[in-house]
Amino acid sequence: MSLDKLLVTGDPLILFSQIAIGLTMVGLVALITYLKRWKWLWNEWFTTVDHKKIGIMYIISGVLMFFRGGVDGLLMKAQTSRPDMEFLDAQHYDEIFTTHGVIMILFMAMPMLIGIMNVVVPLQIGARDVAFPKLNALSFWLFFAGAMLFNLSFVVGGSPDAGWTSYFPLAGKEFTPGVGNNYYAIALQIAGIGTLATGINFVVTITKMRAPGLKWMRLPIFTWSTFVTSIIIVAAFPILTVALAYMSLDRLFGTHFFTVAAGGDPMLWLNLFWLWGHPEVYIVVLPAFGMFSEIIATFARKNLFGYKSMVFAVVGIAFLSMLVWVHHFYTMGNSAAVNSIFSLTTMMIAIPTGVKIFNWLFTLRKGRIEFTNPMLWSLAFIPCFTIGGVTGVMLAMAAADYQYHNTMFLVAHFHYVLIPGVVFAVFAAVYYWWPKMFGFKLNEKIGKWHFWLFVIGFNFTFMPMFFVGLDGMSRRMYTYSESTGWGAWLGFSAIGSLVMAAGFAAFCYNIYWSFRYAERNVGNDPWNARTLEWATASPAPHYNFAKVPEVDSLDDFWYKKKAGKLGLKKSDIKPIHMPSNSWTPIFISVAFGIVGFFLVFEWFTLAIISSVLIIIGLIANTFDYDDGYHIPAEEVEEEEREWRGELE
């Protein structure tokens, strides 16, 4: 393959990005070398198995991917801001909405949430780490390898262009012969394996590693939602694995699972995709529900209203999420009976979700509501998500959906669900748990700018889309004529997206500002919170808890705090057993990335040769007999003294 075919050429926008990416890479390498930070990076981050550091790396990747996906969104908004706009051509627009969707769901929402789960859950259950720390590192690096491979498509070979849903037959080799959709099949597969491992890891962690006395019905609600999410991951991701494997076989080896010819069935893809894809929506939304519950209870200064019904609601939503996938293709010509049944199961999701909304409202009632940054995001979520929810019920009604399906109304709906349900939650969680990660708070004032710009921009961006949808505009159209009358709506929407982008910029500035100037030493419990993660220092020490806490009730930390029973006896400090760092997860993942790259370009000999690297990594891992080390009691004692003062 010649070089000009390998690199995407000819488009000034892409050329500019290629240069920018090249320069950034060179700059980063130069900077790290200049600061002599390579060894530090390798020892402290690349080989770490510490759940908190892995969580932070997930979050950083998520923020970067949010930037990339956001720029995609802005480009789309620019192109549709006026009728007959000639900013992007059809092909470029198609690639951009495809990568926007994939990146936002799989490479932004997932790592953000998994990152926060990683940081918080072991702390919330009083554990030293997750059950399988090395597997956790492998999860992260596989995700990262997948994400990087996917992003490479933008400049090398061409991006996928069949939509994030990648429907066959369009995504088949006959209709999209380039390498773009190979990237989709391979990169998602690599990242997906990582996610599946995360799911397994958290199921085991939460089942087996809870602190003594932390019974199921005493679990913080965020841990509950993480647990349920992990179960859905374990149930749903294998379906994606199989679907992507078929897709790869079709595209790389000429099989006919999903093709039009030779008895293939494109509709099989739709079923498999949504059998994973619908639960996936709940995989990203349920942890968010948990985060909001924690934050709302903290800043209302009350316990969560109806804890038990909240738990049952999460479990109910998870169960129903598996039974609704057909609502993504009511218009496929299913029988009326099938469409009726799936309408019913879909609408039933509104019942537990409604229970949650009212429980949140009644948690707030008679509380003492403090409008901190995490709380503002959690509050804004309620009305915005309600709009997403009720339009979801409208879409669930199959007959009505014949008029909404694939229109901008649908696009508006799922942005009203996913942005309040995921992005607001992630912002809320980042503000809330930031001190636990870094030992200082993000600035409240800049945070307010971030909040108002983003929330106002969000509503102005997506509200008009409901109306153009009802006016007959289908999704994914790169252009439209003036006579449609959609120009005004979409122009308004484009301005909204700029406001949202300004909000995101304020967020980035806030991180920068706070790293430089924010007040340190905020204490272990800066928000006066209720759950166990606040019982230890901020930032949390490497070993999490000097002594594994014992739990007597729901919100145990809150009651012990009030009773003044949080002291640590010197005699309780023992040497702590911790897992050692490992080079194999990053090594195996890089190898996966290399093999994946060769597979994308169908260079099979190179792929086979480089897959030896994966095997080497696995063998090295198998013969790794290192079973950790002990932190001496004196070291723990010293670290605890630093923030507690004198020990008892």
Partner: protein, 334 residues
């Protein structure tokens, strides 16, 4: 608190377009021109009433609660009381949504069944059958009873049921004429069915809503509902003046292009029905190769305009009598 006032203000502001939309009946989904679409828009309006009530309740409760229970400087040491929950309240907001779901489900199911059949009031009439074949990136309409075929426009008799037998020559598309009824997918090797009636004469906007590649945005068509006499006259006219559809011409037609309108004598159903396989012989993946940065989309446009010229020349007969709008691209549904 200032933040609260801002919040209330913004949500009121957001409701303005919603209220305006209520008065503006021109949104295409709320402007039905046939019994099927009317049935659907009635259902949609019915559901919107429920949803509006729910949104109102949540917003009012939300606004009231966060206003009333906000932290104040003079709160002192006030600490809210812990609340376990309240069984009665929780049962209430469990049961009410169930009632709403039931209230929505019954008319939904009824409508789902209704739109699968010939619309009420038209059961006695024998529907005219039109085969829809979607291709990249055009719509092909075959009238087997009349022995004619059109591309990118569809003439139907008004006030008469039409049965669409739909399939695709390759990628999946979705056939949608929002003023007449809901959409349905078109898929190769399969046939989907749709009944529509236009109960008045007029021109309606139709398009593909399922993304299928570069030409997707241009994949729309015009539906012209006309009186029975006009329809018959048009058919006769086509039979007298239009060229025969040959197999070569048809293969050419199935190449991935954006083209204007075309009219033919005869239908392709004589040699292939894509609902029963055989599409692969028309698919040439070389034609789908992409070349970044080359002016491919504008090239397409030019080609489209050229063909349109041609089509307009050879199909002058249509403009003569019924079709007042000339191309599908400047068609507006407003």
């Amino acid at each position: 608190m200032k933040a609260m006032k801002k919040l209330t203000y913004i949500f009121t502001l957001l409701l303005i377009p919603v209220l305006l939309a209520g008065c503006d009946s021109k949104l295409i989904v709320f402007d039905p021109k046939g019994p099927v679409a009317r049935n659907l828009s009635d259902l949609i309006v019915y559901s919107i009433i429920f949803m509006a009530i729910i949104v109102l309740i949540v917003f009012v409760l939300f606004g009231f609660i966060i206003w009333k229970y906000r932290a104040r400087k003079d709160d002192g040491d006030f600490e809210p009381e812990e609340e376990e929950g309240n069984h009665l309240l929780e049962v209430i907001w469990f049961v009410i949504p169930i009632a709403i779901v039931i209230a929505l489900m019954i008319p939904t199911a009824k409508t789902i069944y209704e739109v699968e059949d010939i619309p009420q009031g038209y059961e006695e009439e024998e529907p005219i059958v039109i085969h829809v074949t979607s291709a990249d990136w055009k719509w092909i309409f075959s009238y087997p009873e009349q022995g004619i075929e059109t591309v990118n426009y569809l003439n139907i008799p008004a006030d008469h049921p039409v049965q669409f037998k739909m399939t695709s020559a390759g990628t999946m598309q979705s056939f949608w004429v929002p003023e007449l009824g809901g959409q349905k997918y078109t898929m190769a090797n399969m046939q989907t069915n749709l009944f529509l009636v236009a109960d008045q004469e007029g021109s309606f906007y139709g398009r593909n809503t399922s993304f299928n590649g570069r030409g997707y945005a241009h994949m729309d068509f015009e539906v012209q509902a006309m009186s029975n006499d006009d329809f018959n006259e048009w058919v006769q006219d086509v039979k007298n003046t239009a060229n025969d559809l040959t197999e070569d011409e048809y293969s050419e037609l199935l190449k991935p292009t954006v083209i204007g309108r075309k009219t033919y004598n005869g239908t392709h159903l004589e040699w292939i029905d894509h609902a029963h396989g055989g599409s692969e012989q028309y698919i040439d993946s070389d034609l789908y190769e992409i070349h970044h940065g080359e002016e491919d989309s504008s090239g397409e446009q030019e080609q489209a305009e050229d063909t349109e010229q041609e089509t307009n020349d050879n199909a002058e007969q249509e403009s003569e009598q019924s079709t007042d709008s000339s191309t599908h691209e400047d068609h507006s549904h407003h």
